[in-house]
């Protein structure tokens, strides 16, 4: 039964294509790309994701089909955290992956708000790289990630 069309996850397509944090007005607060796109394409994707996600309400699912992929997203106050993955990927695992990431940010920035992400954009990248790398989940333990971030913070 290996690689039966439709049923199998046996494809090397399963990885995160990009992670986006946008506010309601569509301003990008983080864009992390794990697939090659040129600059125009990135801009288009950012706009499309914003258009797709912001029209949905709380009764809707946290998943949207998007081109040949899907977006798993969750809204925190005015910020949308979006992860683009393959259609066969595990929705709930990525949905909680987002939440895990947000809890780390919250702890690290002490009640994170949008401005923290703006002024510390270069630190946000470090947080992302600790938790997601090469489009895969790298580390899921909040304790371990925060310990590492505080260690880095103490370095000059």
């Amino acid at each position: 039964a290996i690689c039966r069309p439709g049923g199998s996850k046996c494809r090397d397509l399963n990885y995160i294509r990009f992670i986006l944090i946008q506010n309601r007005a569509g301003k990008t607060r983080l864009a992390k790309w794990y697939m090659q796109f040129d600059d125009d394409e990135k801009q288009k994707l950012i706009e499309e994701v914003h258009a797709v996600v912001t029209v949905r309400d709380a009764k809707h699912t946290n998943f949207v089909e998007f081109r040949n992929f899907k977006i798993i997203y969750r809204r925190y106050a005015g910020l949308y955290f979006c992860i683009c993955v393959d259609v066969t990927d595990n929705n709930l695992a990525y949905l909680e992956g987002i939440h895990n990431f947000v809890e780390v940010l919250n702890e690290y920035f002490h009640n994170v708000c949008e401005l923290d992400l703006v002024f510390n954009f270069y630190k946000v990248y470090t947080v992302v790289d600790e938790m997601f790398l090469a489009g895969e989940i790298r580390e899921t333990s909040q304790t371990k990630v925060l310990k590492q971030l505080l260690m880095l913070q103490s370095l000059e």
Partner: protein, 908 residues
């Protein structure tokens, strides 16, 4: 824990960001940025060497400016300098700049790789991770070349820190994805697989992604990972909710790692080792059991994490498709979710059940949820959930519930969202066809489909209903009656008129006995729609009318009158005008017998894969329609043929067969035939346009000059031409490659423009390329399709040979299928010189003194295609008394003999 204050460390950066945020307009922002860029540029160019802090600050500002969407064309060198700093914060900004603004400048790549190399060998875990993250983020070929051999060493070395291992594993994965040829695991394989046993769960989490990817490519080399994965999973699943400490998420032990383990197992068939298999089944049962336990927390995070594992376990169960007990349990669990208050869960349950429906073990269990699913289709607020419900109904459909499901889908269509209508229409059409027990139900369904959602009924759908009606005589009378009734509606969709025109034209006689649908009533009904229809539909109706004249001689006078009126016979559309003229002439001069032969009922279509199924496959990718295929195996699909028929060539030509009925440009055909033996001349002419051709051929290449002459005194606007090749029409294998340059869009009155086509013959072919011409003449859009006279014989190279050689070759080509022969009456005079000229024009060598009978003609040549050469021998035997010819062809390729024989028989 101490929180990070805003922009600590780099005050200048924080000030700059504040300034930008305070800008009231885009202009002000650009002004502020330009000022900053000038400042940074002067600092970088200044004589005073910058300290590391300033360099870091300015590079970080440049990065911020870039992320705002502005171009940055300097600072790369300074960023590279930061890489060799000893301070973490400086190095980090340097690496970040490089990762975000990848530059393929080779000089820099060398420097960057050098810095990475130093950091990788620094034994400082923080620096090593920075370097590895940079490689993972950039992942270029150059980096793979430099580091692909080094990273596995770091990954498995005993003294490597855990966090470095995590990064190394994923870094290697990235390089493997970009340059698989450079990442050679060989000797490392076993040690990498054993990372699944690592004490550090983070290392396992990272390494398993690498192992999964490598297993997909080399399943045999990595198959030991199966038993390791099962035991790791088993330990996690059986651990208490607090055992794993750091890796417990809302009382769920290691949810992400569990999902990844279950996903890795989906790369393999069920474990062969009984003990391993038993342990795995136990894990899966435990996961299913836990779903029934009361939640340990009310938080959605808890249930999401738990269900993430559950859905992944169900995926694995479906992947194995061998444990009926687990499949049915999975189905029952999903059934509970169908009514859950969380939309996410309802959505995922519908989605997952869709794959369960295709398993023979759970198909029946899925079917029991039909009412809930129908209800979801009717009541869900989120369109994507309704879509999944529709998918599931489609997947669970079989003969037992087809009528109910099709009826529900039809009624949903009346209010369905525009975004999913077309797909719904296709699905209804497929189910109706697939499970049609009585074909009257099928006809009713499709006509309903056209009535409800006519705009979304693609050509494939209505072509298909016609194919089926033509092929099944038990339904023809019913179809005629039903479509006749449907056409009574004051407003009916144009697709209905098309189907009506076609079916009544073919089978109107079956209902003509009823005075309520007498021939004239039928005709008047069709003709009442005529003026509201588009040109292609009108063309089809005209064909239906001429068929009426044959079916019902009593309608002849009425129809001739219609054809004769100015709006037909002088219609500005050439196609319509041509049909009107030809049909009128045909009906006036042809005898009843000739008419009956020409207008005979369409022959049955060859049975082949449904063209709509092919379309749905194309739309959704191969996986999406696997369900009806499963059914094929079980019940022997009657109309769809075998499941996986590959590219939809058959479907395409089936629709072509119908479309040919829709568009015939017959007089052009005569012109086209004239070009078989000549290369230059006039291809087409009407009162607006003349098209001349000059062409030359060498080997398998040809060049054709097309001359478009505007015969009027008015400008043609938007003049465009397109050429489509036989391969595009018939299959995905292109046999001709035709390159064109676009023509000038304006052709002045009286002017002539020229277009050059470059032609390459890839393999032998029988269909000619089509030339489509569109232009505006006085506001009216003109549309013309012509066959271009590119025939296989154009690629002939003449071959001279002696009588001996000729007959030797002739004997070699003696297999029955290599020969094609036709005996036919002479259409033209049998003048020797004319015949010789034609045979030379064909492109072959005309061989003298070969045939013992001097009356006969023999020719030899080789057809040059890109892929192969086809040797051809020809013999033409005239019989002057009987005014007949016998034409024999023998070629080294069967299809060529056939094609040449057909072409030439029209020439003499």
């Amino acid at each position: 824990m101490p929180a990070v204050s805003k922009g600590d460390g780099m005050r200048g950066l924080a000030v700059f960001i504040s300034d930008i945020r305070n800008c009231k307009s885009k202009e002000a922002e650009i002004k502020r940025i330009n000022k900053e860029l000038a400042n940074i540029r002067s600092k970088f160019k200044g004589d005073k060497a910058l300290d590391g802090y300033s360099k870091k600050k300015y590079v970080c500002k440049l990065l911020f400016i870039f992320l705002l969407g502005h171009d940055i064309d300097f600072g790369h060198m300074e960023a590279v300098n930061l890489l060799s700093s000893n301070k973490y914060t400086e190095k980090q900004i340097g690496y970040l700049f490089i990762s975000v603004l990848v530059n393929s400048n080779s000089e820099l790549i060398r420097l960057i790789n050098n810095a990475i190399k130093n950091d990788l060998s620094s034994r400082n875990p923080t620096f090593m991770c920075l370097a590895l993250h940079c490689i993972a983020n950039v992942g270029s070929r150059e980096m793979a070349e430099a580091f692909a051999s080094e990273i596995p060493r770091i990954l498995v070395a005993g003294d490597t820190m855990d966090s470095v291992k995590q990064s190394a594993a994923l870094c290697l994965l990235r390089l493997y994805k970009t340059s698989p040829d450079l990442v050679l695991m060989g000797e490392w394989t076993s040690r990498v697989v054993h990372l699944l046993n690592d004490q550090h769960m983070g290392v396992v989490t990272a390494a398993i992604s690498l192992i999964t990817c490598l297993s997909q490519k080399n399943p045999d080399e990595f198959k030991t990972c199966v038993s390791l994965a099962v035991s790791r999973l088993s330990r996690i699943v059986s651990s208490a909710s607090t055992d794993l400490q750091d890796y417990t998420y809302y009382f769920v032990p290691a949810p992400w790692l569990s999902c990844k383990l279950l996903r890795l197992l989906q790369c393999y068939p069920p474990p062969e080792d009984g003990a391993v298999k038993g342990r795995l089944v136990e894990c899966l049962e435990t996961i299913l059991n836990k779903a029934q336990e009361p939640p340990k927390s009310k938080k959605v995070q808890h249930s999401n994490a738990k269900n993430a594992i559950l859905f992944e376990a169900i995926s694995l169960i479906i992947h194995y498709d061998s444990e009926p007990n687990l499949l049915v349990r999975a189905c029952n669990q999903l059934g509970q979710f169908l009514q859950h208050r969380e939309t996410n869960l309802r959505y995922l349950a519908l989605e997952s059940m869709c794959t369960l429906a295709s398993s023979e073990f759970s198909h029946e269990a899925v079917k029991t949820h039909i009412e809930t699913v129908i209800n979801a289709l009717k009541t869900e607020r989120d369109v994507s959930v309704r879509q999944r419900a529709a998918d599931l109904l489609y997947a669970m459909c079989d003969r037992s519930n087809a009528k109910q499901i099709v009826a529900e889908m039809l009624s949903y269509l009346e209010t369905a969202d525009y975004s999913i209508r077309e797909e719904m229409v296709l699905k209804v059409a497929i189910l109706a066809e697939k499970y049609a027990v009585d074909y009257s139900w099928y006809v009713d369904t499709i006509l309903n489909l056209i009535r409800i959602a006519g705009d979304y009924v693609s050509e494939e759908v209505w072509y298909r209903v016609i194919q089926i009606v033509i092929n099944r005589d038990d339904v023809q009378g019913y179809a005629a009656k039903t479509v006749f009734e449907a056409l009574q509606a004051p407003a009916c969709h144009e697709n209905m008129v098309k189907v009506g025109g076609y079916i009544l034209g073919e089978f109107g006689n079956l209902i003509a006995g009823d005075p309520r649908s007498s021939p004239l009533v039928q005709f008047n009904l069709l003709h009442s729609k005529f003026h509201l229809c588009s040109v292609p539909t009108r063309a089809l109706l005209l064909s239906a009318y001429i068929k009426f004249i044959n079916l019902f001689p009593e309608t002849k006078a009425t129809i001739q009158e219609v054809l004769r009126c100015d709006s037909q016979i002088r219609n500005s559309d050439v196609e319509l005008q041509q049909r009107a003229v030809e049909y009128l002439k045909l009906s006036s001069i042809a005898s009843t017998d000739v008419l009956a032969t020409v207008l005979e009922e369409m022959p049955p279509f060859p049975e082949r894969e449904s063209s709509i199924l092919a379309k749905l496959k194309k739309k959704k990718g191969p996986g999406a329609v696997s369900v009806p295929e499963l059914d094929d195996k079980r019940e022997g699909g009657e109309l769809n043929g075998g499941g996986d028929r590959g590219p939809d060539t058959a479907a395409m030509s089936a629709s072509n067969a119908v479309s040919r009925y829709v568009l015939v440009a017959s007089s052009c055909l005569f012109m086209y035939i004239g070009f078989v033996c000549k290369n230059n001349g006039v291809l087409f002419e009407n009162q607006l346009l003349q098209i001349g051709i000059k062409s030359e051929y060498r080997q398998n290449l040809g060049r054709m000059y097309l001359f478009y002459g505007n015969k009027t005194s008015v400008q043609f606007a938007s003049f465009t031409t397109t050429v489509s090749c036989p391969g595009e029409l018939q299959s995905h294998i292109l046999s001709l490659n035709v390159q064109t340059k676009p023509v000038e869009p304006l052709v002045e009155g009286g002017a002539q423009i020229q277009q050059v086509l470059n032609i390459e013959c890839l393999t032998d072919f029988s269909e000619a390329p089509l030339l489509n011409i569109k232009f505006r003449y006085g506001g009216a859009l003109q549309n013309l399709s012509l066959k271009l006279p590119v025939t296989i014989n154009k690629f002939f190279q003449p071959t001279e040979m002696t009588s001996h050689d000729f007959f030797q070759r002739w004997k070699q080509l003696s297999q029955p299928q290599q020969e094609a022969q036709k005996i036919f009456k002479a259409n033209h005079g049998m003048d020797t010189e004319v015949l010789k000229a034609k045979l030379l024009g064909l492109g072959t060598a005309l061989l003298d003194d070969v045939d013992p009978n001097p009356e006969n003609y023999v020719c030899a040549g080789v057809i040059q295609t890109k892929g192969q050469q086809v040797g051809c021998l020809l013999r033409l035997e005239p019989n002057g008394q009987a005014q007949m010819y016998r034409l024999t062809l023998r070629c080294s390729k069967d299809s060529v003999s056939m094609r040449l024989c057909e072409l030439l028989a029209q020439q003499f």
